[in-house]
């Protein structure tokens, strides 16, 4: 049983920021994913159907798009935000599962390592189009 409230002077709000950032990243992702899906899969759709363009996504098309600073910004922020949002979501699910919840700290660190590594790997892949 927890100590009475009056002794809880030191108690701080835990878990607020992950919850809050999950919402912030969610809102940003709605716009970024919208732009991403529209640009890669629908803006060129007419040309592909008319036969003026071979496929929706090809190396040269992506390279062309990524010459614009705006899309470099969109793609890198998309990668970072979607990783945060997705892995934080996984963390929320795992925290409700006893064996993982008991090692919450290690799990959080593990997910951060996974996230940072994947961001590095994804950036390395993206730079193939830019450099």
């Amino acid at each position: 049983m927890a100590a009475p409230l009056t002794n809880n002077e030191e108690r701080v709000v835990i878990g607020f920021w992950p919850w809050f950032y999950q919402r912030v990243s969610g809102v940003l992702l709605i716009f970024l994913v919208g732009v991403h899906i529209w640009m890669t899969h629908f803006s060129g759709l007419g040309d592909v159907i008319k036969g003026e363009q071979e496929e929706l996504v090809l190396f040269e098309i992506v390279k062309q798009r990524l010459t614009q600073g705006l899309f470099i910004f969109v793609d890198f922020s998309l990668l970072a935000l979607v990783l945060y949002h997705g892995l934080n979501g996984m963390r929320n699910i795992l925290l409700e599962w006893g064996p993982a919840a008991r090692r919450a700290k290690g799990m959080t660190i593990g997910l951060w390592v996974l996230g940072v590594a994947t961001f590095a790997y994804g950036s390395w892949a993206l730079l193939a189009f830019i450099l």
Partner: protein, 247 residues
């Protein structure tokens, strides 16, 4: 007089014993017969060893909570007729979920009350206030807190909550509802501290607005609204602190 088939989840009190379903034919002796009436009929006429809790039988005490046809309800507040219509049928009764079963329909509510106790659910008066504080019945504050003070601690919401089912460490809807009633009450002196007590990963942030608690509450308390209210309280508090506008 037609019958209803009452299918009851039985479990002997011995530890490690297996549970099983047992069916009883119960006459519907009145249109107003509740599930509790049916259980009492079984105990008196068919099997005196059937164990269940009850006290007031008028939806005031919150003692007879069970799961009826897969949905939490007070046995005394659920009419058999509302479940089977006019042609009879099967009514399944089982103990509340997420709590250890002592025997048959009797659960041990200890965990539920431990969670409640952990937020210090009693009123803590503000220091230095003399005499009664007036909170008029039509004031905004009174209207906000009123429904949330109706809780009878029957545990139905705790049983219905999918998050409690996944994570027994979760505070649960009833405790959060009680915290909201106190946090929103200007007469209570520990508002901010209580807010901090519930704003943890095992507390407030674990609620995923599934609305099961609100759906089963026999007092019709909009519990999810309370939990969301607490979240907004924390947000306001956080950003006040961030910009140093607060106390």
């Amino acid at each position: 007089m037609e019958n209803v088939t009452l299918s009851i989840r039985r479990k002997p009190p011995e530890e490690g014993s297996e549970g099983y379903w047992q069916e009883f034919e119960v006459p519907i002796f009145a249109d107003t017969m509740s599930v509790l009436d049916a259980l009492v009929w079984v105990q008196r006429n068919a099997d005196p060893s059937l164990a269940f809790r009850r006290a007031c039988r008028v939806q005031m005490c919150g003692t007879c909570g069970v799961v009826i046809n897969g949905r939490e309800g007070l046995a005394c507040g659920t009419l058999v007729r509302s479940l089977v219509g006019d042609d009879g049928g099967v009514v399944r009764v089982q103990p509340l979920r997420h709590l250890p079963v002592v025997r048959d329909l009797v659960i041990d509510p200890g965990m539920f009350f431990d969670q409640l106790r952990s937020i210090d659910p009693n009123f803590i008066p503000e220091e230095g206030v003399e005499g009664p504080v007036v909170l008029s019945p039509d004031s905004k504050e009174r209207r906000t807190i009123s429904p949330h003070r109706e809780c009878i601690y029957c545990g139905l919401c705790y049983s219905a909550c999918s998050v409690v089912g996944l994570d027994s460490g979760f505070l649960g809807p009833a405790a959060l509802n009680r915290a909201f009633a106190l946090v929103s009450d200007s007469r209570d002196g520990s508002g901010k501290q209580r807010l901090q007590a519930v704003a943890s990963e095992e507390g407030l942030w674990r609620c995923h607005t599934i609305f099961e608690c609100t759906a089963v509450c026999p007092k019709g308390i909009p519990i999810t609204r309370a939990i969301q209210g607490l979240k907004r309280n924390v947000i306001v508090d956080k950003f006040k602190g961030l910009f140093r506008l607060g106390r």
